[in-house]
Amino acid sequence: MRYLVDVDGERVEVRLDGDGVAVGGEHVRAHLADVEGTTVRLVTIGGVQHRVVVRRGDARGRYALWIDGWRFEVEALDERARAIQDLAAATAQSAGPLPVTAPMPGLIVRVAVAVGDRVRSGQGVVVMEAMKMENELRAPADGVVRAVRAEAGTAVEKGTVLVEFEPVGLDP
């Protein structure tokens, strides 16, 4: 079985066979085991043990992994699923407004944009308060504000759409 794994901006091909994996033409023994009574997995690669904490992501093959003191967001798909996924991603590129959503429940402190504003990727658009700290939420891409659904002073749930954008290329 061949898996294509997107990790840390790279695509790594991992081929699974009887007792191990082949990565970059090199074959090593590899094994995944649970640690009973915990959510920890033990991955043994070429005899070396790595403790891994796994959180499942929002889609098939997506995981957040804590391994060797690093945190990775990975997507591991078999060849066929990878091909379908890449095709879908290419189609979605042209798609409509990208929302800024509330990453946690909290209170809207300030909305820094209005409908029609042009924003740059990374520009602060909404300030939310949670755990006594103010947090700035940023635009995901260059674009034009299509809708503002957040109102200062209101409480919102995690995942609430706050601002919608139309991604467009802006003049430099």
């Binding site: 794994v5 991992v14 590899a30 085991a33 997995r41 043994t44 790595h50 891994v52 690093w70 700290m133």
Partner: protein, 518 residues
């Protein structure tokens, strides 16, 4: 002497648990209080008694001073320990506790008041001969006066708009030649931004460190400095990492800073544990900022290098015990503390919430965990995001850093995002390792620290782990075995570590092929 028998702890989380432990070691009964959100919290269970005090919002539970006093009276407690935060530095609460005939485990209300506002504390420090950041209290009249004051303070100086904020109307002036132009610019900017052109001048502190001195004072006039803590690793004025001692403090400087802190504490009539905060500049000059009239979050690093239990001493001083020493002890070894918070460093330190699914706490030589969570704890948004403090101790700073790296690697918190990886990046940073830090260091360094790429071996291990997980999940979906992890290359046996092939590699290969060509 009036030995305490029962102490009500007006706090929650790790510090409440810390106080429960000190009480038990001293043979004092403890009473925990808890809001709706904390009914299952470890501090509640570990205390001898526990009382529900209201709903989750602190204003309706942990901040209801009168109610807490009533509960203490009702249960026959003879003292209240406020911990840090919440009501710990409220003068009125300290007074109300004493007026109710209870012992306040902290400084006298008058000392809290004296150190309560920065301006009052500054005036008090000046009267005690403790150096403060030199500055004018009246707006500057003209460039001539500015030049005269700046010469007195010594360059560089900082021009600051009286109405200022956000850096507007602020100018660093490095020599006499620049001051007239800088003053005109600062006045103009200030006038435009705030409609007020009043400008002050103060000494500009270059590359300052946040160094604080722990003091301990008893009710018999003994007041002792317990060395410094280096707290320069801060983000948005929140301390993240603290250590003791500091690489910037020599024995001679420690003695001078200690004397200055003791003088300020004495001037305030201080009793119990307290901390004087200073800025320390590159030349070794230090300036008093304020005094924290409570136990500090970072007190364990002092405990480890001084071999003292500060929380026990708070209780012993409150019960009328006398300090057995009057000389400052000499710090031994090195201690570092990392604050483990439920904040996501990869996502702008946004608070993360959830249920702790699994917790593995590091241990072994020289490792201390002061935590308020356990597996099953729910991390919400009602309180501070600090989950625990991980503290290490070793002979040297270098060894302590290696020990901290080891302990952070052992730590597993599954269920919420935490600052663990952030701390690992700091521990590995060459500047941090050399001790080249200031209070601006972290803010400037943060983007680089967070963008740091994992080494190729870690990326490769993550890729392999992900492929094995995805394969196991795929077979689980396809009903490929018990819990979908029947063994083999990607299988997880039920017994840890031991590879348990549940089928022959021939059968597996055949099955893989079958799945690949539908």
């Amino acid at each position: 002497m009036r030995p305490l028998r029962k102490v009500l702890i007006a706090n929650r989380g790790e510090i409440a648990l810390r106080i429960v432990r000190a009480c038990r070691e001293l043979g004092i009964a403890s009473v925990a209080v808890y809001s709706d959100a904390d009914a299952q919290a470890p501090h509640v269970r570990e205390a001898d008694e526990a009382v529900h005090i209201g709903p989750a919002p602190a204003a309706e539970s942990y901040l209801r001073g009168d109610h807490l006093i009533a509960v203490a009276k009702q249960l026959g407690a003879d003292a209240i320990h406020p911990g840090y935060g919440f009501l710990s530095e409220r003068e009125w609460f300290a007074r109300a506790v004493c007026d109710a005939g209870l012992v306040w485990v902290g400084p006298p209300a008058e000392a809290i008041a004296a150190m309560g506002s920065k301006t009052a504390a500054r005036t008090l420090a000046i009267s005690a001969g403790t150096p403060v950041v030199p500055g004018t209290t009246e707006p500057l009249r003209d460039a001539a006066e500015a030049a005269e004051v700046a010469a007195r303070f010594g360059y560089p100086v900082l021009l600051k708009a009286a109405a200022g904020g956000g850096g507007k109307g602020m100018r660093i002036v490095r020599g006499a030649g620049e001051i007239a132009g800088a003053l005109a610019a600062a006045k103009r900017e200030s006038q435009n931004a705030f409609g007020d052109d009043a400008v002050y001048v103060e000494k500009y502190i270059e590359g300052p460190r946040h160094i604080e001195i722990q003091v301990l004072a008893d009710a018999y006039g003994n007041c002792v400095a317990l060395g410094e803590r280096e707290c320069s690793i801060q983000r948005r004025h929140q301390k993240m990492i603290e250590e003791a001692p500091s690489t910037a403090v020599t024995a001679e400087l420690r003695a001078r800073m200690g004397a200055a802190a003791v003088a300020a504490a004495r001037a305030a009539g201080y009793v119990n544990a307290g901390t004087c905060e200073f800025l320390l500049d590159r030349t070794g000059e230090f300036y008093f900022l304020e005094m924290n009239t409570r136990i500090q979050v970072e007190h364990p690093v002092t405990e480890l290098v001084m071999g003292l239990d500060l929380v026990q001493w708070q209780l012993r001083i409150a019960s009328g015990e006398q300090l057995p020493f009057t000389e400052s002890p000499v710090p031994r070894g090195w201690a570092i503390e990392c604050r483990i918070t439920s904040e996501d460093p990869a996502n702008g330190f946004l608070p993360s919430t959830g249920r702790i699914a699994h917790l593995h706490v590091p241990s072994g030589p020289g490792v201390r965990w002061d935590g308020g969570i356990e597996a099953g704890s729910v991390v919400g948004l009602s309180y501070d995001p600090m989950l625990a403090k991980l503290i290490v101790f070793d002979r040297t700073r270098e060894a302590a850093i290696r020990r901290m790296e080891r302990a952070l690697r052992e730590l597993v918190i599954d269920g919420v995002e935490t600052s663990r990886e952030f701390h690992l990046r700091v521990m590995a940073d060459p500047e941090f390792r050399r001790g080249e830090i200031s209070i601006q260091w972290l803010e400037a360094k943060l983007p680089e620290l967070l963008a740091r790429k994992a080494p190729p071996e870690a990326v490769r291990a993550a890729a392999i782990a992900a492929a094995l997980l995805a394969d196991r999940d795929r077979r689980a979906r396809n009903g490929g075995g018990p819990r979908g992890d029947g063994g083999g290359a990607s299988g997880g046996g039920t017994a840890p570590r031991a590879p348990v092939p549940a089928e022959s590699s021939w059968a597996r290969a055949a099955r893989f092929d079958g799945l690949r060509s539908p």
